[in-house]
Subunit: 341 residues, 2 copies
Amino acid sequence: MSEFTSLDKLGEFGLIRKIKETVKLENASTLVGIGDDAAVLEPGEKNIVVSTDMLVEGVHFDLTFCPLRHLGYKAVAVNVSDIAAMNAIPTQITVSLGISARYTVEAIDDLYEGIRFACENYKVDLVGGDTTSSKSGLIISITAIGEVAKGEAVLRSTAKPNDLICVTGDLGAAYLGLQVLEREKQVYLDNPEMQPDLQEKEYLVQRQLKPEARMDFIHELKELAVKPTAMIDISDGLASELLHICTQSNTGAAIYQDKLPADQQVLNTAEEFQLDPVMCILNGGEDYELLFTVNLADYDKIRNHPDITIIGKMTEASEGVRLVTPSGNAFPIQAQGWTHF
Amino acid sequence: MSEFTSLDKLGEFGLIRKIKETVKLENASTLVGIGDDAAVLEPGEKNIVVSTDMLVEGVHFDLTFCPLRHLGYKAVAVNVSDIAAMNAIPTQITVSLGISARYTVEAIDDLYEGIRFACENYKVDLVGGDTTSSKSGLIISITAIGEVAKGEAVLRSTAKPNDLICVTGDLGAAYLGLQVLEREKQVYLDNPEMQPDLQEKEYLVQRQLKPEARMDFIHELKELAVKPTAMIDISDGLASELLHICTQSNTGAAIYQDKLPADQQVLNTAEEFQLDPVMCILNGGEDYELLFTVNLADYDKIRNHPDITIIGKMTEASEGVRLVTPSGNAFPIQAQGWTHF
């Protein structure tokens, strides 16, 4: 006999009840959470920021190597990352799920365990959502709400020429983590007896499966008394995000290849896969680090910060968006983003 | 040569740009809309309500008889309906789409035309979203945000015994509209030469394809100076929604079969399809009318309102939730909701 429970048995309202029972509310601004037509928030004298992201099975995740618990965590983290990129503090999320028939109650529990763990970690309240069936696979759509003092939201459109371009952490690891996982999946499919040895790739795999939103850094910026002139989170890749800032701020930019931060595992693994490490860093995406610009006057506040790398500077729009190689050559940076319809 | 444009050609950012260009912002509380990591809202001294709904192709809609423009409109309307059911005024929405390869740019334009039309009609600002590809069919996930004065939100959990139970408009039409459309689809599949004659079913079909959120009635309630004790919108069906109010308010209820409001087309068409009209009214769903309870003291304010029908009264929880027939028999009302996993 199976130890799993079909969702059919539990029904929609049973599933919602189960979810509601395990959700704790932490934010004073949350008046009413799950269980009514809408959540009710009382933000006080703040601005509200709202962001939303959809993850689709087979497009954004592959459950053969992504445990549901990690997926739940990641789905929250990527939304929190958008709120962080506004210089705001996340306070609430809503979670909508489309679930196909092959999922059990236990599987959805695993997913919510990851969601709840992320909610605790980022101190956000799960206040509502929708659960529905789907014809194929799992769909997760999350909306995150955050607060920021009036006038303190940091947009993409407000960078200026001569601002310094900075990134947090290192780049390219999540993309190479995905390459490693896909190779191991293929090895496993060819020979199910083989046990993957991912020890040397642990950092890459973790960056892919369990990315963190850089909320820590938003608090850090306040301590440094630095307000970026523009900011965006790196979900599609550094090149794509830099182009967003430049387009929306009507500027150009120059970034320096030898300044781009990467972990040693990124460099080693790119070589192993015969991939150009610079392309991995520029276009890999899913690192959820922050790309931001600061006024030159703030240089002394950030120059020695261990988590900030200054990678270039903003320029006039007429100079374009360029990557400068160690030999001093400059190449235009191209847009990416999905074209996988 | 085809006159349609593949989404591949436009790309993700092209699609977002197209959407952004055609969106107008109307609400003073919208500081920043589409185009950043999150929207920025400045609600002032109000409460915020947030609701979300997901529509999945093949589960919630069938594009053989639902034009994309209508679908876009409906997707917004059902979210606005949730905000209305909180006694709040909708102000912003975010729209996330999962789009499969068989959709063209023109198809997504049609969808957004319906979304924009609904935004204008309900005076809400489209402030953000996510567009992604999907392996099968179209997925629409919308989050709606609204405002309500502090303390004026109406919950499901605050009805009291002896409160009057009221509904707006009439019920059962959207469900029978779906039956009509599915029959016509079958006729068409059997014989593509046949032109459907839907003239006598126009009201039913319109209620299914183009439901309206009862925002008009929320404004009306203010004019009547009536604050319901509890309220919910009727998406799953009268029976299911009444059970939600009773469970969450810890009450029972008695509703009277001969008071249930239905259009003559509902009664005629139920007979034609050999369906019990009472079951269509109780469990049909998707009418998006409002079910609400009011204190007896408000009876005189609502008794002659042409759009309100008093269908019963709340009771102690021990009396259960019952339907009283014209002959005076009482039957317990059962829960529904989807079990279509």
